[in-house]
Each structure stands twice: as C-alpha cells, then as structure tokens.
C-alpha cells in the first residue's frame, strides 16, 4: 500500500468518490426493495449491489487492490472456507430425520 504522502494526497479524492458511490448504491438498494420483485430476483439484485459495495470498501478503503501476497493467500483460504460454511445448509436436504423418513428396526 502507499505510504508516500504525495501518493496519499492523490488518493484522498478517490476515497471521497468511493464514499459517494457507496451512498448512491445504498439509495439504489433501498429503492430496489420497494419494486416488489419476485423473491429470487430481489435477493439477487440486493446481493449483487451489496457485493459491489463490499468490493469497493475492501479494495480501496482496505487497500486490497495493492497488498502483499501473504495477505492474498490468507484471504484466499478464508474465501474457500467461507464458501464451504455458506453451503453447509445444503447438506440438510439429505437429512432423513427432518423429512420424516421412518427409522428401520
């Protein structure tokens, strides 16, 4: 990440622009929720906007657009485990107890 004062001065404008963009996207998210979209479409739109906002925060405010390899490596592992964690509920589809499959004796 930048530590040169002149370089940081240049980035200040970028920080402000990103902040303004995040506020605009927040307004769009709220407006989209009142459009009465079907649930799958509403979830998709809301999560796409949230992901865009999250990417802006992570890449610019957290300086992930120019970090060291060690941090990218740690985050890659985190993303992999995060995906596993999020998809664990899918395994419950095969849960025989909750869907009333009778016990065999």
């Amino acid at each position: 990440m930048h530590s040169d004062p002149a370089e940081i001065q240049k980035n200040v404008r970028k920080y402000m622009m990103i902040g303004a963009s995040l506020l605009v996207f927040t307004v769009i998210t709220v407006a989209a929720s009142y459009l009465n979209l079907a649930v799958p479409a509403a979830i998709t739109v809301a999560l796409i906007i949230a992901t865009m906002k999250g990417s802006m925060v992570a890449s610019v405010f957290m300086h992930l657009n120019h970090e060291r390899q060690w941090i990218y490596g740690a985050l890659l592992l985190t993303v992999l485990f995060f995906i596993v964690l999020i998809f664990i509920p899918l395994f419950t589809v095969q849960d025989g107890i909750s869907v009333g499959i009778p016990w065999s004796h």
Binding site: Y15, L22, T26, T29, M62, W70, F82, T92
Partner: protein, 194 residues
C-alpha cells in the same frame, strides 16, 4: 525488550507483524459472521413464511449512511496522519467515533421499539437471528469505539515517540473498522430489505 517488526517489514512476509496479525484476525471474523449468515440461510430456507419490511427501513438506511460515512472519515484519519496533519487526523478520528455512537443510539431506539412490543429474540425465528447478528455487530462497533477513544486519549502519546508505529496502529484500527462497515453492508439488505 522491543517488539520486532512493528514499523519495518519482515523480510520473509514483506509485512509488519501487526498488519499480518490484523488480517488473520479479520479472517477469523469472516468465519464468525459467515457461520451466522449460514444459519440465516438455513432458517430462511426452512421457514414457511418470512417477514418482509418488518424492520424500520429508514432507520436501517440511516445507519448504513452513518457507517459508510464513518469508513470515509476513518480512512481520512489515516491519510491525514500519513500527510503529517495531526490536527485533521484528530478531527477525522473524533468524527468517526461520533458517527459510531450515533449508530449505536439508533440501534438502541430500534431495539427498544421491538422490546416495548414484546418482540424480543424469543418472539420468532426472524427476530432471533436479527438480534443475534445485529447484537454481535453492535458489540464490534463498541469494541472499535473503545480502540478509537484510546488513540484519541492515552494512546496518542505514541505519535511523539514513534510516529510510524502510531500511523500503523491507526491503519490496523481502520482495517477493523472497514470490516465492521463491510459486514453491515450485507446485514442491511439481508435483514431489512429481503
């Protein structure tokens, strides 16, 4: 004994120890909140019906604006410090704390409104996950405020003896704070809008 690699970068990682430490901590935080988001998906998929716009959307939106603004002021607190503008740094850090406290006050009113109607976490599954996720997030806000108050108070002395290390500490605080903002960016649509 001095703690090594607080200012200079380690030759093997190219990072200061604090920087690597805060990122590993944030990775563990991703898993903590990830477990709760996973729980949310499980509960929502299994629910026969799910409330829509049950929460106070304008208040939630205002809180989103507050946290995003606080992220801007936090990054500015770090940037001004790197540009050697001590007074501006203090101002930006103070504004960040104020925005965070206003967020918590809003949250207090929101919780109070629900509890006054007897709608606590025991009321239904939606409110159970709502109170759990926003409560944990609120605790993170309180933690961030405590750290920032420390750097506005006794922790500020380090600027005179070791300005580079102080700037690094503000950067790590900022990374934590942006993460807290990032979590809210997902919590807001998931709980308030969908």
């Amino acid at each position: 004994m001095n703690i090594p690699y607080t200012v200079e970068e380690r030759p093997d990682t190219g990072l200061t120890n604090g920087k690597l430490g805060i990122w590993l901590f944030l990775a563990s935080e991703v898993m903590l909140f990830g477990a709760l988001f996973s729980t949310y998906i499980l509960l929502r998929v299994g629910a026969i019906e799910w409330p829509h716009h049950e929460l106070n959307v304008p208040l939630g939106a205002i809180n989103t604006v507050l946290l995003i603004s606080s992220s801007v002021t936090m990054v500015m607190a770090w940037a001004t410090l790197k540009m050697n503008q001590w007074g501006k740094h203090r101002l930006y850090l103070l504004v960040t704390v104020i925005l965070a406290v206003v967020f918590l006050v809003n949250k207090y009113f929101e919780y109070a409104e629900h509890l006054a109607k007897g709608e606590g976490p025991w009321h239904n599954t939606f409110l159970a996950i709502y109170f759990t996720m926003t409560g944990l997030h609120g605790l993170h806000i309180i933690g961030g405020v405590i750290v920032m108050l420390y750097f506005l108070g006794p922790g500020a002395k380090l600027w005179k003896s070791n300005p580079e290390q102080f700037a690094n500490r503000i950067e790590y605080t900022g990374l934590y704070w942006h993460f807290v903002d990032l979590v809210w960016i997902f919590l807001f649509p998931v709980l308030y809008l969908l």
